[in-house]
């Protein structure tokens, strides 16, 4: 393209946020997914302070109360659980622990994994070898054993569960980061920085990290869903979070014995897990498109036609 192009680029530039919203609006699935996720985050933030007491109040008379009956008040709209606690309130309150476990585990694993991956990818052969063998060991370390060890030596709490789940997810970020670093460090602009005399730290944090960040974020979105499912599986096996703490996974796991008699106990939290993981998946595939300059036009056209 010739020199004049720069002058004609985007005569009425939207703000970054505005572009983001219009690209999101272009993919209706992603838009609703984001809305739903915001709702979940809202529940996680303020849910417990609003409904904690209601969610913990046992009322054996409302035991397994069926859904869609409003006699007992709106909190019983989704029915009651085996101890007569309103499912709706419990789901809202459980959002906090569920999100904390998932977000905590993802944040921890991405921090450790990406740091090790950067080191392994950027520094020499030996640190890389050691870190990769370490990743192998974690990869083949049975996550269930890890859960039992950590929860036995420490105790089953949200914090420790985060540790368990985070450790098992480290290799994903580690390997991805390393692979990306190996690719990015060969890029011309990294060499350009080297020629200018940039230090390793500067190259890693100013040049490499921003490049691999979108990939990490995409993986993290998917992993968020995975961690939620893993947490519920641990609850199922009896080595995850334990009452009186509640998470959605624990609710499904506790409700499964009532599947034939009171399906709603396991159904609602299960549905919320599905909706959340699906939303994250949709958001992540939207991000894959939105962050890829060669695919982005699909969203931008869509955004235009809706202007």
């Amino acid at each position: 393209m010739s020199e004049h192009v720069a002058a004609t680029v985007r005569p009425h530039r939207k703000t970054v946020f505005g572009r983001f919203i219009s690209m999101l609006w272009a993919d209706k699935f992603a838009f609703f997914a984001t809305t739903f996720l915001l709702l979940v985050v809202l529940c996680a933030l303020i849910g417990p302070s609003l409904l904690e007491d209601v969610a913990g109040k046992q009322n054996l008379r409302a035991r397994n109360a069926p859904p869609f009956v409003l006699d007992r008040g709106w909190v019983y709209f989704l029915g009651g659980d085996a101890l007569g606690r309103p499912l709706f309130a419990r789901i809202v309150v459980a959002a906090q622990n569920t999100m904390m476990v998932a977000a905590g585990a993802v944040a921890l694993s991405i921090t450790i994994g990406a740091t090790l991956g950067l080191i392994a990818g950027y520094l020499g052969r030996w640190p890389s070898e050691i870190i990769m063998r370490f990743a192998d060991v974690i990869m083949s370390f049975p996550s269930l054993l890890l859960a039992v060890i950590v929860l036995y030596i420490l105790e089953p709490s949200v914090g420790n569960l985060i540790i368990v789940l985070a450790i098992t997810r480290i290799p994903i970020y580690l390997r991805t980061t390393r692979a990306e670093v190996l690719e990015v460090r060969e890029r011309m602009f990294v060499q350009a920085a080297q020629v200018m005399g940039a230090s390793s730290g500067r190259i890693i944090f100013r040049h490499i990290l921003p490049m691999i960040f979108p990939t990490l974020v995409t993986i993290a979105t998917l992993d968020f869903a995975f961690v939620m499912l893993a947490e519920s599986a641990l609850s199922f096996l009896g080595i995850g979070i334990q009452p009186p703490e509640i998470t959605w996974g624990l609710m499904v796991s506790q409700g499964r014995q009532y599947l034939t008699s009171a399906w709603w106990l396991a159904f609602w939290p299960g549905l919320i897990i599905i909706l959340t993981t699906m939303s994250l998946n949709l958001l992540s595939s939207w991000m894959r498109t939105a962050l890829d300059p060669t695919q982005r036009w699909r969203l931008e056209i869509g955004g235009k036609s809706n202007d």
């Binding site: 985007r10 602009f189 060499q191 080297q194 200018m196 490049m211 036009w297």
Partner: protein
């Protein structure tokens, strides 16, 4: 109706983009006759490839959209045919070859398989396909044709791949061959051979050839007729000779004027003191010697060009001197101190004095940083050069120096054109006020007119600031216009060195002579003489 082999009439194509619709070609008409070579000349973004993509049904809709026009072939409008009918024409009646044969071959299948597929895709039996493939590979001059059929694309050299690509396209003896920048990525000598091959094949089969190119030399070498395009429109058509000597449109005139290799040659200043002395520099990868003992000097304020074909080791010199790779032997004395043995900390200091401009500005600028950040990063690294409050002013000064506007500082690289990006890269190199700038193919990815501007800019910097250059290039005419001295490299060794004048006017070594003879001249008449001379060589 006409009896042209192929006729494009009033074709308009536009694309959806983030900025709305962009018209790629606007009301374009041209035709091709049997046995004729039509060249479509234009710079990047001129829309020169779009009409041929439309002929081949290669435009993705969306984002593309053909808004008007017709493409007549055999009396039929191709745009009215269904996909199946057009597929049946592709490869059989109309074939196409592309710029980068490496990526246009499927990397996971043998070339034999891929050539045969052209034949079998149109319903011929496999046995016939095999025989035809062998015949073709022989014809395009690949050594060991039987063995070659079972090899994969990555096992061939660039020139061989383009020959194979031609073989694949010609498998069914099409009536029309469209060649989209078929020689752009090739070395000059190989380019000449491929063009000759195309010419011969055209004579044999009588096909019509559409040649899409940005290079006036290519046009001069093979075209019968020429179409010049700018911004999606045809600005001029006619015989190459006529256009070269009597261009009507200002854009065409600008293009012709920008063709390098016509200026006055510079004379080196033997009195200047050497600042970089490279002695016996070596680099080997296992048993392969990329560089085997290279010795040369660079003098203060001088431009030393390093020329040679791909793989000759010319870029390796730059990478070794700047410590982007470790050397296997030799010295590189910068003002008397060996760069190759310096600690990273000592090296960091020297880096201020030697800077580099890379080939591809799209890749050498961090896409996540603004122009201001990119240029000022140098001072963030070398804190003592400039206090932070002066950064802004200095960035603007540098931008002005390289011909950009101060307001550009807050933009990101992708918002600029290729030439502008290279100016940013140059501004970055200037930020530390270096004494030596190494340009590694710094202008070869740019369009001719932009190339000329960048060379002019570099020349101005050299004259104003007294900066020395190591100018690595494969394009001889550019070197001729810009350098003081030239090193000619082949297989990791220096074949010949001397002043520009000596190398270009009186080359001593046969290799240098061949290199010079393979270069294409934009004047069709001159080029015809050159070609005859080369064939005689």
């Amino acid at each position: 109706m006409t009896d042209h082999l192929l006729e494009v009439r009033n074709l308009s194509v536009r694309f959806h983009t983030a900025q709305g619709f962009v018209n790629a070609v606007n009301d374009v008409s041209w035709h091709l006759d049997r046995g004729e070579t039509l060249a479509i000349l234009g710079e990047s973004g001129s829309g020169k490839s779009v009409s041929s993509s439309a002929i081949m049904n290669l435009i993705d809709c969306p984002p593309g959209e053909i808004t008007s026009g017709e493409i007549l072939f055999d009396g039929q409008d191709l745009l009215q045919l269904d996909n199946e009918a057009r597929r049946a024409l592709n490869g059989k009646r109309i074939a196409m070859i592309f710029q980068d044969p490496m990526s246009h071959f499927n990397p996971v299948y043998t070339v034999g398989w891929q050539i045969e597929e052209t034949v079998t895709a149109h319903g011929r039996p496999a046995a016939q396909a095999r025989a035809r493939a062998l015949e073709l590979v022989k014809r395009v001059g690949i050594p060991d044709p039987e063995g070659a059929l079972n090899k994969y694309p990555h096992e061939f050299s660039g020139g061989q791949r383009q020959r194979l690509m031609i073989a694949m396209a010609l498998a069914l003896k099409p009536d029309i061959l469209i060649a989209d920048e078929p020689t752009t990525a090739l070395d000059v000598t190989v380019q000449a051979e491929v063009l000759t091959l195309l010419h011969e094949l055209q004579d044999e089969t009588g096909m019509g050839l559409v040649l899409i190119t940005h290079d006036l030399g290519v046009v001069a070498d093979v075209a019968d007729r020429l179409v010049v395009m700018e911004k999606g429109c045809i600005v001029e058509t006619g015989r190459p000779h006529d256009i070269y000597h009597n261009a009507q449109h200002p854009y065409t005139r600008k293009l012709i004027a920008a063709a390098p290799g016509k200026g006055v040659m510079r004379q080196p200043d033997p009195s200047a003191a050497p600042i970089l002395c490279v002695q016996g520099l070596q680099k080997s990868y296992g048993t392969f010697h990329a560089l085997s003992g290279v010795t040369f000097d660079v003098r203060r304020g001088e431009t030393l060009a390093v020329v040679g074909e791909s793989g000759s080791g010319k870029s390796t010199i730059a990478r070794l001197v700047l410590r982007l790779e470790s050397s296997s032997g030799g010295k590189a004395l910068w003002k008397g101190e060996d760069l190759l043995t310096k600690t990273p900390k000592e090296m960091s200091k020297v880096r201020r004095e030697i800077q580099m401009v890379f080939q591809d500005p799209t890749q050498s600028l961090n896409p996540k940083m603004t122009v201001f950040q990119i240029i000022s990063e140098a001072w963030a690294i070398h804190r003592d050069v400039l206090p932070k409050d002066k950064w802004r002013a200095r960035v603007e000064e540098l931008l002005d120096q390289v011909g950009l506007e101060a307001g550009h500082a807050e933009r990101y690289p992708h918002q600029f054109s290729g030439g502008q990006r290279q100016r940013i890269a140059i501004a970055r190199a200037l930020a530390l006020e270096p004494e030596l700038i190494i340009c590694d193919e710094a202008v070869s990815a740019l369009d001719v007119s932009i190339q000329a501007q960048v060379i002019e800019l570099l020349g101005k910097l050299r004259d104003d600031l007294g900066i020395a250059f190591i100018f690595i290039a494969h394009d001889l005419p550019v070197v001729r216009d810009f350098a003081d001295r030239v090193l000619v490299m082949k297989s990791g060794e220096i074949v010949e060195d001397g002043s520009v004048e000596q190398i270009f006017e009186a080359p001593r070594k046969p290799y240098t002579k061949r290199l010079l003879a393979a270069g294409l001249d934009p004047d069709p008449a001159v080029q015809k003489q050159r070609r005859d001379a080369r064939l005689a060589l």
